[in-house]
């Protein structure tokens, strides 16, 4: 691509920023497509179903009793902001899947939210320490507008994959586009490969 006349760019060129991303600094933009729900932890459920040996359901107290796990690192939104050096605490998706035991035919998951939002992920992108269900951000309860009480966290992919208000994982033997994926966005969403839109 040829340079834009007069543009030199004063943004961060550091190695932690994927191509086309900028450092949003202390802000944390909120981007959602629907009204923000109010979820009660008293009735909150997280389930793992589909192609598993043992379908599982956890209550709020149940999931928080599992061994906890933290992520410290960066997050990247397809709308071009990245937020560097953040931390979340929750449970590893490995722990959840280990309880449900996916069948050998399993290849993908469809993450679902209590609002009906969905997003699809290859199984290998939510296993081996790459994905969490989180309820704390920087040591504080995750705010409602950021997906609280709990959201999925898949920080190596664009952040629409980290479903807010997550309600479960449906284990599947094929890929099935979720909400944004049906609306023009990429099925995988690797920020380092700039997999932003269908066809990238």
């Amino acid at each position: 691509m040829k340079p834009t006349r007069g543009f030199h760019g004063r943004g961060n060129r550091g190695p932690r920023l994927p191509p086309g991303q900028y450092d949003v600094g202390r802000d944390w933009p909120v981007l959602t497509a629907e009204p923000t729900p109010t979820l009660s932890t008293a009735t909150w459920i997280f389930s793992v179903g589909g192609l598993v040996e043992q379908p599982m359901e956890w209550t709020w107290d149940g999931i928080r009793a599992l061994p906890d796990s933290t992520y410290a690192g960066d997050i990247h939104c397809v709308t071009t902001w990245s937020k560097l050096g953040v931390s979340f605490r929750g449970v590893s998706v490995d722990t959840l899947l280990a309880a449900a035991r996916p069948l050998v035919s399993a290849s993908h998951v469809l993450a679902t939210s209590h609002t009906g939002y969905t997003t699809n992920l290859p199984l290998e992108d939510v296993t081996a320490g790459k994905a969490w269900v989180v309820w704390e951000y920087e040591g504080e309860p995750l705010a409602r507008e950021h997906g609280g009480p709990a959201r999925l966290l898949v920080p190596h992919l664009y952040f629409w994959k980290s479903a807010k208000w997550v309600s479960g994982l449906q284990v599947m033997d094929h890929d099935e586009p979720g909400f944004w994926e049906q609306n023009g966005y990429h099925d995988r969403g690797d920020p380092w490969l700039e997999e932003r839109y269908q066809g990238d």
Binding site: M1, T4, R13, V24, L39, S113, Q182, N183
Partner: protein, 252 residues
């Protein structure tokens, strides 16, 4: 398998398969006109290399490239209604720390070539085929303006009703056109002289009644505006599945 929320139907059920075609590749866009909307906002009319069949409410990504290969990209909603031409209008608010918006406001002149990609988004769109209530806060009016202009262009101004919330008369985008298209304007801080409604935020009293069950409500604005407005709508009895939200976060 999901427990769901009592009384909350799944908003995001969409269609089978893909709702919109994938966006095109990066293409050049030549600036053919620049109009000032307010002290902080300008509209850039651009001619694209390839015709673009966009929907009202969609956005484009605009990319700037430095000589060393560094790029900066931001998303901007289209303000113009689709008309089958190769031209689109993007209204850009000048954010003081905004790398892209500052460049667009301070450097770009008619004739400059930029890069764009789109159209993007298949959710916050109105196809002109059913009643729509459009609620915009500040610069959130931009994608709603594309919808209002579409209603006017297809000769169905009855289908789309726009309510804009803005701080003061000096902050209002598209002022003359909003008057012509009978949009309702609310001022939150300061009104024009003689304005009947006192300055203040959107309240239930500002909403039309009733809001029909077949009406799709489009809400666009800051996070605060979006949350406040959707709460008002839900408490006024609008079903959550009829509300579509686009938030303009503090991205620069």
């Amino acid at each position: 398998m999901t427990a769901g929320i009592l009384g909350w139907k799944s908003v995001i059920r969409v269609t089978e398969g893909r709702a919109v075609p994938p966006p095109g590749k990066w293409q050049s866009a030549t600036v053919v006109q620049i109009r000032r909307e307010t002290a902080k906002a300008k509209t850039f009319r651009m001619e694209l290399a390839e015709a673009s069949d966009y929907l009202a409410g969609q956005h484009y990504v605009l990319r700037l490239t430095a000589p060393d290969g560094y790029t900066a990209s931001r998303s901007y909603s289209v303000a113009s209604a689709p008309d089958g031409s190769n031209e689109i209008e993007l209204t850009v608010e000048h954010l003081p720390e905004g790398e892209v918006s500052s460049f667009l406001h301070d450097e770009v002149i008619v004739g400059d070539e930029l890069e764009v990609r789109g159209p993007i988004g298949g959710w916050f769109v109105w196809r002109g085929n059913g009643p729509a209530l459009l609620l915009g806060g500040g610069s959130g009016v931009v994608p709603l303006m594309a919808m209002l202009r579409l209603a006017d262009r297809i000769g169905r101004p009855d289908l789309a009703r726009l309510i804009v919330s803005t701080r003061s008369p000096e902050d209002l985008y598209y002022a003359a056109e909003l008057t012509r298209l009978q949009a309702k304007v609310l001022y939150t801080r300061r009104t024009p002289a003689g304005w009947l409604r006192p300055a203040g935020r959107l309240t239930t009293a500002d909403l039309p009644t009733p809001i029909g069950a077949e009406t799709t409500v489009f809400v666009c604005g800051s996070s605060g505006f979006s949350d406040t407005t959707t709460e008002l709508l839900l408490s006024a009895g609008v079903a959550n599945e009829n509300i579509r939200v686009e938030r303009f976060g503090p991205t620069q």
